[in-house]
């Protein structure tokens, strides 16, 4: 019937096709390699990561032991090219690993996601010399890299950053401060975005630099106390005339904003993967609880109200997962609307994680609210996936712009 639509309907259909999946690269399925990788990470997460999760949350300490484990098992090598000791993993492979780790512990899943985020500017715009210089130690996991864009007054409004980088001969002098930087206090390299030309148009003011730390003038004045992902150190970074060689600039002067946006096109699926993993973990705990807990003489899962909640949680999680996997394939195959896929998968997965973990707490009732069970932690961990690497509101803005065209989008 749709095929027989009257001619008058055609223009509308056509315009819809332009912004829908017309660019889609067909069906996808996990390769054998990806299935093996997912299963290996799942086993590791079940046996080595899950038993540590509650303690990491309680102490708020960065799990150095698990970071080393991820390095030994080549999990931190996933995003890096093979010629530099990496695994050259597709975006989907990285996300499968983040998902499985986050199913056990969101802080541990974030170790890989944030490592990839920090490295993306180099992966996207680094010179062969820069890649050869830093990738081997990042791929081996000997070094961690952090991504420093956000400032106290420049969150969603990235271009409002004030940190300055002033050229002085063959180096730049960086001054200012960055806030909410994941791994800021444990990273060995920091990708910093700073204003090189305050007079330039809004999107041409920033440039991107790699800062090797510790270095003179660099300090970490504060590590935040957070609601969730408590073992992941979120730091304020201060730059007091930090000197960086010109060779550490990634891309040209003024490329910073563009590099950051392209970075998010590839990094947001990592957060979506973290969200799907958290949701899956909560779903599994709630389902098991519903088969064991008895009230009124029967398993609580046999009450339709509880069963329906579990069914909705499963469907939400699976829907988010499938959108994530599809987005990874689209982005990796160079879809022109990569930003839209990236924003959609994080939007859907972040909201699913929040809803599913909240319902998991509900299924467990009083036991869900105390830390004898992991679901309250998962609920606290889920919240950040709706906030970082672009709030859910920013994701909607990105999607709307792709849908309506930049000129007609809100907040242009």
């Amino acid at each position: 019937m749709v095929l027989a639509s009257p001619a008058s309907a055609r223009p509308m259909l056509r315009s819809a096709a332009v912004i829908s999946s017309s660019q889609a690269h067909g069906p996808y399925q996990l390769s054998e390699e990806q299935r093996l990788l997912r299963d290996a990470v799942r086993e590791l997460a079940d046996e080595r990561v899950a038993p540590r999760a509650a303690d990491i949350d309680r102490t708020g300490e960065f799990p150095e032991d698990l970071r080393r484990l991820l390095a030994t098992q080549d999990i931190l090598a996933l995003p890096f090219p093979e010629e530099h000791g990496g695994l050259g993993g597709e975006l989907l492979s990285v996300c499968l690993a983040v998902e499985q780790l986050s199913r056990a512990c969101a802080t541990t899943g974030l170790i890989l996601a944030a490592h990839e985020l920090g490295a993306l500017p180099l992966l996207l715009a680094g010179t062969p010399e820069q890649r050869a210089r830093w990738f081997p130690r990042l791929a081996s996991g000997e070094w961690l890299i952090a991504f420093a864009l956000t400032e106290a007054e420049a969150g969603s409004d990235v271009a409002a950053a004030r940190t300055r980088a002033v050229r002085d001969g063959d180096q730049y002098v960086i001054s200012g401060s960055k806030r909410f930087i994941t791994h800021g206090s444990v990273a060995d390299l920091v990708t910093v975005f700073a204003v090189t030309d305050p007079e330039a148009p809004r999107h041409g003011r920033l440039s991107c630099f790699v800062v090797e730390v510790p270095t003179e003038g660099f300090s970490v004045p504060r590590v935040e106390h957070k609601m969730g992902i408590r073992g992941s150190p979120t730091a304020e970074l201060a730059f007091d005339n930090v000197c960086v060689p010109v060779a550490n600039r990634v891309g040209d002067e003024g490329d910073g904003f563009g590099i950051a946006m392209r970075t998010f096109e590839r990094s947001r699926p990592g957060i979506a993967a973290q969200a799907v993993g958290i949701a899956q973990g909560a779903l599994e705990v709630a389902s098991r609880y519903a088969t064991e807990r008895r009230q009124f003489g029967q398993r609580i899962g046999d009450f339709q109200m509880v069963a329906a909640m579990l069914a909705d949680m499963d469907a939400s999680t699976e829907a988010a997962r499938q959108l994530l996997y599809k987005a990874c394939v689209e982005i990796d195959s160079g879809a022109p609307d990569a930003g839209r896929w990236s924003a959609m998968c994080k939007l859907v997965a972040g909201d699913a994680a929040m809803r599913v973990t909240t319902d998991a707490v509900q299924v467990l009732g009083g036991y869900g609210y105390i830390d004898d069970f992991p679901v309250e932690r998962m609920m606290r961990d889920a919240k950040i996936t709706q906030i970082y690497e672009g709030t859910q509101q920013i994701q909607r803005l990105v999607i709307a712009r792709a849908l309506l065209g930049k000129d007609r989008a809100p907040l242009g």
Binding site: E32, E33, L36, A40, V41, E43, R48, D74, L78
Partner: protein, 263 residues
Amino acid sequence: MHIVVLVKPVPDPASGGERLGADGRLDRASAPAVVNGNCEYALEAALKLAAASEGSEVTLLSMAPASAPETLRKALAMGATRGIHVTDPVLAGTCAVSTARVLAAALKPLTFDLVLAGVDTSDGLGGTVPAAVAAHLGLPLLSYASRIEPDEAAGTVRVRRISATGYDLLEAPMPAVISCTQALGEPRYPSLKGIMAARSKEIATRSLADLGIDPSTVGGAVATTTLIDSRTPPARGATEVVRGSPAEGAARIVEFLAQRRII
């Protein structure tokens, strides 16, 4: 150093699905196959020995159904060099005695310094195969190893054998067969690079004809052991968890034992 590790795919004991078929044989479809736990400990020991000696190789040897390579890949991913898979439909139901003869026949053409095997397998739990393989090959058997120290220059190997009171120190010329305990150390997880590399590692297949074994001398029909009966162990009673201070815990345990007239 060349080390051969005997590896057996078994139904995953953690799956809880292991069961016997109507014929009294293991129902291999009842649970997903995994590498037998003690074989993984033997492999870990072999990989550590190989890493300590330049140019070493670790070969897996398995007598198993046709689907075994799937399971052997995990052992290859841990770092073994290659696999040899002895398989033949006739071998179904083969007893421990014939299994040892087949494995010995597969080992004969190989050059090796050590053969490592787990002390037993979680499906059959017989624990006789390593000794029988050694007997067939006329090699020394060093059993229940908790430590393995080869001396390549002297051509000997020392093993700590777990005993009731501690350990015995054994020494034998190489090549030798060693049965391995979990005291040797936790098996590693395969790294992602190991998993990728394992996909292209060789698993050679050997049939009974390749080994020169008469098919009528193996298999269930001529098995030297017959399973007469099997029973599931009784379910464990309710577990009582005692929470509280160590003193309260101790008091509760004493009370518990006293009630049952154990103390």
